[in-house]
Symmetry: C2
Subunit: 245 residues, 2 copies
């Protein structure tokens, strides 16, 4: 099972806001055995959103979008998704009622009603934080950009997803420099073509080092490769530390 993420928002591309939703979604999906294969960030522009979404939804089992479903003029995601799927869009009666119940008389204005606009054929994605829902249409899940609300929406989405086999991960850390263990690591990768072995150096105040990460769906093979990495590090004169999962 594969997925793509589409982050929608000028505020990410201007650097005003640090996106943290992509990494949260990645970990959330990883636990369900769904691989995030690609992420894209596009501006609040319908043409850009439609093109990116249509590219992603044709390619992956699921697409998750974040951002652009609030009440203001720059929230254009629902309309863009309707355009991408070539369906109409209108106020959803159930959402209108739920939103209306949240406001005092006279406060449920036209802009707030925008949050009830849901493309035809879509089903609602609810959340425990806000009365404004996301929605699912085809293999696309449309979520809020505010992380707290986005995370609550993922809880609602999880039971609807087909799961894959979860990925097993083992991490070996050493203070040896990357260049000292690179040849041994390449050999272990070569011996294990079904696993993905990554090397991630770090620079910290207490010294530098590298984390060697083995990922794969065969947990015994992942375990064995991590053991091989530990032995290789020790053979190079380093200390190897297996990090907790």
């Amino acid at each position: 099972m594969t997925a793509g993420v589409l982050v929608i928002g000028d505020e990410i591309l201007s650097g005003r806001t640090q996106d943290t939703n992509t990494s949260y979604i990645a970990r959330f999906l990883g636990a369900l055995g769904i691989d995030l294969r690609e992420a894209r960030v596009v501006p609040d522009d319908q043409t850009e959103i439609v093109a990116a979404l249509n590219g992603l939804r044709a390619r992956y089992d699921y697409v998750f979008t974040t951002g652009g479903i609030g009440p203001t003029h720059d929230d254009i995601t629902a309309d863009a998704i309707a355009a991408a799927f070539d369906v109409g869009i209108d106020y959803h009666p159930e959402v209108l009622a739920a939103l209306g119940a949240r406001y005092r008389p006279g406060e449920f204005n036209e802009m707030r009603k925008r949050m009830a606009r849901i493309p035809f054929t879509a089903s609602l994605v609810k959340n425990s934080v806000s009365a404004a829902p996301g929605f699912q249409i085809g293999n696309v899940f449309v979520m809020a950009g505010v992380p707290m609300i986005m995370r609550a929406m993922l809880e609602d989405i999880a039971p609807k997803l087909r799961r894959g086999m979860p990925v097993a991960v083992e991490t070996v850390q050493t203070r040896l420099p990357e260049g000292r263990i690179a040849a041994g690591l390449a050999q272990i990768q070569k011996d294990n073509p079904g696993l993905a072995i990554g090397s991630y150096p770090f620079c910290r105040e207490d010294g530098n080092g590298v984390q060697l990460v083995v990922r794969g769906r065969n947990s015994a093979a992942v375990e064995a490769a991590a053991d091989a990495i530990e032995e290789m590090v020790q053979a190079q004169g380093g200390e190897a530390q297996r990090l907790p999962k």
Copy 2:
């Protein structure tokens, strides 16, 4: 002037590592008047890197890549870029010499030499942190993924970039809910089609609110629109606070 960012790395897509380079590049370019229009994250896979890079470099004035230029087997960016540009790749004598000088005799092994592989026709991007360079080929700048090194590379790149007119930004903050000011804000956006006005709600321990951000290249128009937003917020019974730049 426009730009795209290509983040290369399995560790971002697994959620293991939070990408912060994109937002740093966005702010860095913004100060030079270059608009970041799109960002993509792809795995350590040559086919994916080549396809995404060729899409981005045809579309934007500049493309900035991060990640995958270290010494280990999963560092495949240089080869992928050479493939995307259909040029050869080999050890760069100047880089070999600079790297070689950093290591003790016998420590400059084959894997470390990989960091000296530079595509033909590319020029080097140096940095103050590491002897391993990035490179420029065509309109593409290839940088390290480690943020400290990536930032140092941007300092080397900056003088090579054609600049645009910087974007002026004004931010008005209010504790009113977004739905109360959405209609007034939409009108101000309508009155100022040349500006980009964004609405970004926040939830904090000291209470909720929204930041209204005006961006544009005409600083007087940005200033006037921010003034209009302040007046609109006050007319709605809220307090408006102009945030420092």
